[in-house]
Structure formats: structure tokens, C-alpha cells
Subunit: 291 residues, 2 copies
């Protein structure tokens, strides 16, 4: 659909600016065309074909590692590091920190985002990841690994009950991106109510609902680009006209007047700063020019 297969300029790839951030809604294709993972790999600094797969969120890392080894291997990645970081002690280990320091792509698997923040929050390993990201490495995450990327993250809340005060449980995320709240498996699990409640409590934050086999690349200048075969739903609450949320007790139903949504497909985008939908041709122009 989109002409922008590889948007990073040579200057960017040289490593003087932050690498791209990619959030994926879960269940990305790992066996067929690998559209999303291929794109993620293409964003890594030129010449660096090392990937760190961090399975901290997962309860079944031994099942997950081989799947990503196979997928990244098919994409020509030369070295894939199994980062089996399960405790805060692991997150201080010098060897892990060294590994991260040599990778062009750091990839967070799915699982439980609270385990991810609980183990990595404030750790030397997270600091090393941030430093490496600032030097140009791509940081990508799927499912829980995507949800944890924002400064404030959702970690729980049944979608069917979500539009009731306090039903969506939030905490501090890893903070790779600010101004947004990310939710995953969004269409498949009908999570619209979760981002509606989040939007009611603080309309300043853009809700980004990632469908399965769908994701967003965060380009410079607050430009998000949708990738993959699924949908990305943008939930924009800034123009909410009225809501009862401040007057409710916990568990009472939230009323909301005027919340705006967009459904993005691959190649379409959204400008977080301007709060503006970007059609695909426009996006090609904008990301070409981005430095």
C-alpha cells in the first residue's frame, strides 16, 4: 500500500539520533510474509544485524524464543540473543547490558506488562536499552511489550466492564513515548471501552488501540505510521464536551459526550502533535522529509 518501506535516512542510521520505536498489537505474523517484523528489522541501523529478544513479560520464554529466532533468522538477522531476564537481579547483570549495547534492534515479547515493568523499572538494563535507543537502535514490542511503552500503561480491566469508573487499571510504563496510551489486541478483544475510559479521565492523552498483526512506527515529529494487515484505532478525547467521570464513585458507569475515533490501515498515519489523520500519500511525503 505505502511506498515507504525504509524511511530512515543515512544520517539517522549513523546513530546520532534516537532509533525508531515500534508498538505491535500482538499476534504479528511470524510464519508467513512477516510483514511487520520485516519492517521492524529494516529500521535498524545499517549494518547492524543483531537482535535482543527480551522475554521478561512472558511466562513461557522457552516456547517464545525459538519462534522469534526462526522469524528473525528468515529475515537475515545474523545474531539473535535470548534475553531471559526474569528477575531484578537478572536486570543488573553485566552480560545483558553488554548484549543490549551491541544490538540494532531490541524486541520485547508479549506476556504480562506488569511483570515487565516490575522487573525492568529503574534497572541498569532499562537504562542501557534507553541509551542504545538514543544511539539509533530500534525498540519494538508486541502485545504486553507494546502496552508497556507509554509513560502510563494499562495493565488490566475487562473490556465489557471498562466504561465504569476505576475498572481500567493503570500504572507507570517504561516511558519510551509520552502523550499516548497504548492498548493491544484492540479490535479482537473489543477494548474500545478501555481507551474511552482512559480518555475521559485525562483527555490530553491520545489512545492508540493496536489490532492484531498491526502496529505503529513512531517517526520523528510526533508522526505515527500504521503497519501490518490489521487496524490501528486512534481514540482522541481532547474534544470531549462533557463527562460525569469526576462525580462518580468507583464502579459507576461513565458518560461521555463527543469522543473522536479514526481507523488507520497500513500506510495511513496520525500526527499526535496536530491531532490530524494522515492519508497514505501525505504520509509518504512527511516521512520522506523527516529528519
Amino acid at each position: 500500500m505505502s511506498g515507504i518501506t525504509n524511511t530512515a535516512t543515512l544520517e539517522e542510521k549513523g546513530g546520532t539520533m534516537s532509533g525508531r520505536l515500534v508498538a505491535i498489537g500482538g499476534a504479528e505474523d511470524k510464519e508467513s510474509d512477516l510483514e511487520i517484523l520485516r519492517r521492524v528489522v529494516s529500521l535498524a541501523p545499517e549494518g547492524n544485524q543483531e537482535v535482543a529478544v527480551i522475554a521478561t513479560a512472558s511466562g513461557i520464554p522457552d516456547e517464545i524464543f525459538p519462534v522469534y529466532e526462526e522469524a528473525f533468522g528468515r529475515l537475515g538477522v545474523e545474531r539473535i540473543h535470548r534475553m531471559d531476564v526474569r528477575s531484578r537481579e537478572d536486570a543488573r547483570e553485566e552480560q545483558h547490558i553488554e548484549t543490549v549495547g551491541q544490538c540494532g534492534l531490541i524486541f520485547f515479547t508479549g506476556g504480562d506488562q506488569l511483570r515487565l515493568t516490575n522487573v525492568l523499572g529503574g534497572s541498569p538494563l532499562l537504562e542501557a536499552i534507553r541509551a542504545r535507543h538514543e544511539k539509533g537502535a530500534v525498540v519494538a514490542g508486541t502485545s504486553a511489550g507494546a502496552a508497556a511503552m507509554s509513560a502510563t500503561m494499562i495493565y488490566n480491566g475487562q473490556a465489557a466492564d471498562a466504561l465504569r469508573k476505576g475498572a481500567v487499571r493503570m500504572s507507570s510504563g517504561l516511558g519510551f513515548v509520552d502523550g499516548i496510551v497504548i492498548d493491544s489486541h484492540f479490535l479482537e478483544r473489543g477494548r474500545f471501552t478501555r481507551l474511552m475510559e482512559v480518555g475521559a479521565t485525562n483527555p490530553e492523552y491520545i489512545g492508540v488501540g493496536l489490532g492484531e498483526d498491526a502496529g505503529v512506527i513512531f517517526h520523528p515529529g510526533g508522526i505515527m505510521e500504521a503497519i501490518g494487515s490489521g487496524h490501528v484505532i486512534i481514540v482522541d478525547s481532547r474534544e470531549i464536551i462533557s463527562s460525569n467521570v469526576a462525580e462518580l464513585s468507583e464502579g459507576e458507569p461513565v458518560a461521555l459526550e463527543h469522543i473522536i475515533m479514526h481507523a488507520l490501515i497500513s500506510g495511513h498515519g496520525f500526527d499526535v502533535t496536530q491531532r490530524r489523520y494522515i492519508s497514505d500519500m501525505l504520509l509518504s511525503e512527511m516521512t520522506k522529509g523527516a529528519v
Copy 2:
């Protein structure tokens, strides 16, 4: 929450104008406070305490009838008619037509809305229901019985796949209300995508997503009033700025720019004609004055 327990004026109850229409999202409380059913019964013409329960949509009418008999009985309804209309032949039976002609409330159970339209569409029984409704009887329906009320109805479409062209299956409904498309079990089954696709194909129609134990009363003048413990989601597509839906092949993902939603709770409303959210105090004023 709302002060309007019984809004029908005496003139209305006399029967010279159409009765109220009530659409319920399914799983309405039938055993505890009966909030929605109580309200439905209260809208019937004064002095008429006969209810016809039409279980055509259901595959298990013998299980459903006793539940509604018990519930309506608790609400003081004097006669409850089991309308076991399973075929188009049944829908021509003089006895059923007579029964409907003496009821103050005609209630459609849940089940399969396509069975409902297939059996009742173009039948003498449906004509009799319409005539009775015009004389002031309340027509109410839950789940499939609510979905079938609009002129165009949704009868199928997995929510997870819905935002793909053609995934939402539609057909002609019973046509009690025009200008809207009703969906049920809306929050519980995450059906936002279904009304988004419907909105993309024709932005003229307001999507009304009814949660469980939630419903809307259609008051005169295009005023909808939310009732029950759940949510009613309004999906307003008229201000869509762009969509690719007309250019897609079947199954391709639909992009949508700028769809507006509102979350209504009991006592809040929506003016379909003006496309305006109505807060509860305002609604009390408006329905008090409605004739």
C-alpha cells in the same frame, strides 16, 4: 438517576398517537429490580395490562416464556400471552392477530433476528402489530428483538473482523424506526467495529450500540432516552472526513477518518434529528414537554 419514570401524557395514553418503541441490548434484569421491564410496562396505555411475548426469534421459546411470565407477573401485568409464532403460517393465524389487537405491550424476545424477519416480514401479524403500535401500544424488543427494529438491521459479522468490507451482514429489518441501525450486546461483545463499518458505508445512519441491561426509549421528535444499568453507545458517522470503503474489494480493511461516539447512561439521551447529546436534566425537560 432520572426523574422521568413515566413520561407519557394522558393524551398519549388515550391512544391517538403511536406508542413508544423500546430497544434493549439483551440480558436485561429479569429477576432483581426489573428496572428496564418496569419502565417498559409503565409506558403502556393506562389501564391496559396485557402483554404479548413474541418468541419467534428464539430457538428455545419454552424456556423463555416462563421467565418473562414471572417477570411481567411481578410487575403487575394481568395477562401474558405466549405468542409461539414459528412459521409464516403461524403469522397468518387469526387468533394471534386478535391477541395482539388487545395488548398494551408487544415484546419481542432475543434469538436470531433473521428468523424474526423471515417469519414476520410482510405477514398479517406484523401488520397487526404496526396497527396496534400506532394506536398507542408499546413495542419493545431485546437483543435480536431490538436489532430487528430498524429499517436496515445487522444480522451477522464477527466483531474482530468487522472493520473489513462486507464483513457486517445486513438485511431489511421490521422498520419500526428509521434513520438508525441498532446493535445489541454492544460493549460485552466489543461490537464497535460493526457500527463503524455500517457508518462508513452510509454516514446518514446513526449507530445505536446497546449494552446489556441497557436500552433506549424512542420518544417523539427523534429523542432517544437511555435506560437501564448499562451503556448506550451512539456512533455518529455524519462528519466522517475520509474513508476508503468505496474503493475496497470485499474483505479489505476499512480506513475511517473522524467518527464521533457518545457513551450514554440511564437518563441521558440523544436527539437523532439534531445529532445532539442530551444531558439528563435537559432530557427531563424535553420529554416532559413532548406530545
